[in-house]
Assembly symmetry: D2
Homo-oligomer: 406 residues x 4
């Protein structure tokens, strides 16, 4: 019967099937891009051509109408089996598009035609394959709540200055979605999401990503120098330094996709070592059976967690419709998701570790894909928010109802 995660909607099945096809292709180039730390532009092109990048665009705007968060995460996990770097980059587009689609529906429902029109234009661009988004969220030395990139008021819009880090997917994106700090009406710091063309004057992708793993993810630093953004491309998300509805919703959904990548990497490690065992004819050895069992348990756990969080999110957003859910409920959703993140990113590491152990040393050689997976999978616990120790603090505080105290 097979126990891999299965999509629950029709667009989800299409998305997952397409992801599997892409993964087979991407797997053939993953080691090469890893060695050179090159961004797989051809992969991104393939994702645009196949319509994969249009999956979360509503039917009415030319997309596949993928709405289920669970199905989206499953598709990203499948992509991660082929190439974790590309899956990571693709996620930064797919989840952003999912939110733009949601904003489009909300604008329509609430009678905001101008906003709806802008969202629709962006989504049609995505559907047509001309637009690829990348959500660029991190900055060195601070967290997502305390963004330092600054937007200053100028005539008709804003000037943006700052430096982003871990700009995953940026080399393949046409539009960057970035968080900026800007002064509210009373001068108080607020946060906004700005959509900036990747080729806009003042945007410089530093092409400096050189890391232990996820080397093909293009996670470069990006510098913004007096970069102009018109009013309509900058949308307030709430007060700076505080948890907001958009922060929580965005990070729960978007980071679930990131977490799913590591499930995909773990599944790839498992398949890789099972092939090795079959080739060696060593399935009868106790030590082999034990290691395989530990992998299966870790994988079953990871799948159960991704599935549960995906289902909870689908039910959650279905219940709230186009309205933004209240903060307290979003914290509970985030709490649950942080449990999933903690477990899945850790268990994925366990799976790769056991595969290496079972390889008996051959997996340690550079030519063996396991040596790449060992490096890629360690990126999991870094996915924000939160760091592993901070996640414990967050989970504990929300459970105990003392989030705001310190």
């Amino acid at each position: 019967m097979g126990f891999e995660l299965q999509p629950t909607t029709e667009p989800g099945r299409r998305f997952v099937a397409q992801a599997e096809a892409h993964a087979r292709d991407f797997a053939t180039r993953a080691d090469e891009h890893d060695r050179g730390a090159t961004f797989p532009l051809e992969n991104m092109s393939a994702l645009r051509r196949s319509g994969f990048t249009a999956a979360t665009v509503p039917h009415e705007l030319g997309g596949w109408g993928l709405d289920s968060v669970l199905d989206y995460a499953i598709g990203i996990a499948r992509l991660g089996r082929g190439d974790g770097s590309t899956a990571l980059a693709a996620n930064m587009h797919v989840f952003r598009t999912w939110f733009v689609a949601r904003a489009w529906r909300a604008s329509q429902a609430s009678g905001e035609p101008a906003a709806a029109k802008r969202s629709a234009e962006l989504l049609r661009g995505v559907a047509g394959g001309e637009v690829v988004l990348a959500a660029i969220l991190s900055e060195a030395g601070t967290d997502h709540l305390h963004i330092r990139t600054e937007a200053t008021r100028v005539d008709g819009g804003w000037r943006i200055n700052g430096r982003k880090a871990f700009g995953t997917g940026s080399p393949g994106a046409t539009v960057l979605g970035i968080l900026v700090r800007y002064p509210g009406a009373g001068g108080e710091p607020r946060v906004a999401l700005a959509h900036v063309p990747a080729t806009a004057p003042g945007v410089e992708i530093k092409h400096n990503w050189d890391a232990l793993g996820m080397r093909g993810s293009g996670s470069h630093d990006i510098v913004f120098t007096d970069c102009f953004v018109p009013d309509e491309d900058l949308a307030d998300t709430g007060p700076w330094g505080r948890y907001t509805e958009r922060y929580l919703a965005g990070n729960a959904v978007g980071t679930l996709g990131l977490v799913a990548v590591f499930l995909g990497i773990a599944e790839c490690a498992r398949d890789t070592i099972l092939e090795t065992i079959a080739a060696r004819g060593s399935a009868g050895r106790h030590a082999v059976q034990q290691g395989v069992a530990e992998m299966e348990i870790a994988l079953a756990t990871s799948r159960a967690m991704v599935e549960r969080s995906g289902r909870l999110m689908d039910a959650f957003f279905a219940r709230h419709g186009h309205r933004m859910p209240p903060l307290a409920e979003l914290h509970e959703l985030m709490l649950d998701f942080q449990c999933t993140k903690a477990v899945v990113t850790q268990q994925a590491i366990v799976v790769v570790d056991r595969a290496l152990t079972l390889s008996g040393g051959s997996g340690y050689l550079s030519k063996n894909p396991l040596s790449r997976l060992y490096r890629d999978v360690r990126a999991g616990p870094f996915m924000q928010p939160f760091s592993p120790y901070e996640a414990l603090e967050y989970i504990g505080r929300v459970t105990l109802g003392v989030l705001e105290e310190s």
Copy 2:
């Protein structure tokens, strides 16, 4: 929103609600039965009066029509919050009844009116509250595949001799479902399931259960001495010493219920210590937050695993209808379930451990329910099949396709 597991069917919601009501009541007596190692007959009576024991009897036969394995497991988990011993005992009735109901439908579908009639009678007895079943599966010094209790041919039926152990729920049962070894047509050893009235001549419940925990579960030894069983109450389940369809299906479903008990115990430990923390006003302490977070992660993991296995089983039996699924598929189902069993019974122990740690020593006192939960929860890994190390071997072998080799 709350993250406890939620039933997915109407009968399931009724079952779970009733379980919660019972749990509140049972909790008031759990410590007393624990101290005296007494079987809570009043709890079993309450379960009969409320219709809880009739839940898995089909509507047509006067029951609640509970069919979902997931919902059944959730209900048992809820019961486990109040009293693990009673939940364990109740499970041995509920899952057996579930299988009798399934057999009844299969008999009807395949045109076996005599078998259908006998099943219906039993189920009507359950629905009316006169009949309580207990599946008595274990024997000391052997495993479920190699049962030693012997059925010998006599006129019109069989004489049963042997000794069962861990006879959970036996003091509250009117009918015992036991496995026996008997000679097949060619003299080869086979296994059968016999239904024996608890008061039949030759049945002796030893009332000798005195254990570390689960002290109210009435898990006595039961001795069968020349106990007569008529032909129609003994049903072949397959060759002795071999995995059979009935063995796998029965143990997957029945043991999921057992595993759910330990989720319930963990949830109780969590609620207990959260109350203590609230009373102490110590929620602001880092150490407290960390411990609580570790409990939440372990609970989220356990819930996700129970939910996933329950869903898989529901989909599995729905797909196969009344037919017995093929052995190979049942092994995959069992493999998945063994992952769940390994994780949940272990994580439940983690939750109770953290609760004890957070108690700061007060949880170690006999008067604190945590001291009982610490003893009860350790029964989890003993639930059969398999022992923890054997489970690794089984999972490894099934995954590698070498189950039969040794």
Copy 3:
């Protein structure tokens, strides 16, 4: 060759050999005292008769001259193999005596004949078997730094009021060593150690110890009501609420003995299950070998940690002679010991857990000593200072040099 810990001095060898002899005897009564939660007064008498309680009294004063902290810990571990409760109780005498002996030498070295005389008297009483000490350190709802038992100035001495908890060994002690808060010269709160005869007016041992495990340890509450202590029996140990040299030295040495008890319990669990395996003839089973290996690894780890901390302490006190070591160095010693405590108390739990798993259910029965060891061993992480999570904070802070910040 055997890998159990071996004493390093001549008095240590005598102490350990005597401990082994006692352990064999105590083991025969451990289950009985556990069931009844009775204090094994006959064990304490045996320890007095054999001279075991006089081991840390200097030769010159009639004792065995046991000076090595490592050897003392090994002897306590051996005792713990026979009966954890008695070992715990014995520790509260032996380590206190060790410190009185140290104080006696320091008084002699520094020319304080009055203090030296009082110490010598006490030690001679111990050597003669008339005196048994018990250090009573804990109070409910606070930690060892923030003692609430109060000493108030009266003519010629102090009146003590307060309630102690976890008064391990109190039923067998003739003299209780307790910490009290008292007003310093400027009225500021300070801490003192008072030696109080167990039969003094105003001392009431509540005989209320009823706990999950360590049921024979006599860890009763003790209430002090206007209990008079003459000036010479109350010795200042430093400011209240602050780490002091005496606090750190006392708790490092004394708690190492407590930790050693859990090593002994683990060794007992290991021996118990190895006997079972031998009786069953199941040593050839892979699952058995795996479980045994996990026990061996956990035991080797625990022994290595106890040995390392004991050696470090012996070298440490040898280096400092009779002088009290400086606070900063004592914090480093405590840091190292907290690592040992964290690992040993946890690994001891692992050993008992594996033994239970290997027992296959029989270990869960009350008549099997493993069921007692499972309850006893869980006391380990409660040993003060610190709680497991607080220990992480302490270790982190000392390592990072920010102990005083908060």
Copy 4:
């Protein structure tokens, strides 16, 4: 006071001090050799010049007279702080030399002047810095007990054919110590240790080491083609396919050195992140303190285990003098050491993992040494014998006294 391991003998102190000096130097080139997967010949030259490679040569033959296995392991650990690859390579020389020195003494004691003379020559070469040994033990697809490299009888000696793998240190060695299979007097397969000049005809170092980590260790494949070895350079070690005294003694001592390398790597990771924390001023954060505490506990455990095994080995060889200890005792020594290996290689991984977590993402960048340590440290569990799962089997079997059964 500091808790790093301290040598126990005078030559040991010299060795460790020299190792520390080398480590500071090697650290400056470690990243460069890692990037290029180049063997640090200049490091090996420095080790020869300083006399480090002569440390285990007896005083009488011009060396430092380092005899303590513990001290040798500590020195290797120190070297590992600077560059794990070089430490690994150095170990393959130092421990081989230790055994040659032991053989020299045994030959003298037993009156074998020819053998003593040859050993002395080799050792004098080492003392003079002309000779560097490398023990080359592994072959792909088999274990150390079932070597496939073949020695065939020819006039005056043997012709060797075969392929070795993981030939750590080979580019810097002048003499390779390799295991070969050869026919005994009755034609039965036996094992011998052959010393082969690295430049001998028929020796080809493939210079093909390209791995995940330990990239500067020169662990190339080495092919032997009709390579001639004179009789006196080939010494029988016992029957092929069976545990022998030499196998156990050699692997216990030699692999302890390998294991020590990973302690050194862990210590380096710890120091690296502590510097980062100090630079960031983040020592006051709870999450930081927790992570640091987990590192300290893992390091304390690793140190305790290395120290304990080293002490046990020193006492063991001291007890047996020049005689080869009996097989049964060597199995117990190996059992203890396998516990150490399991724990230290695993805990070293934990330390590096926590350091990475504390780095918050910056440690994942290639320019951060932590990213190299993460790759290097994963080599630990591959050190032979045994693989992690096989070690469990070995430990279990030896403990249970059923090593020979299967």
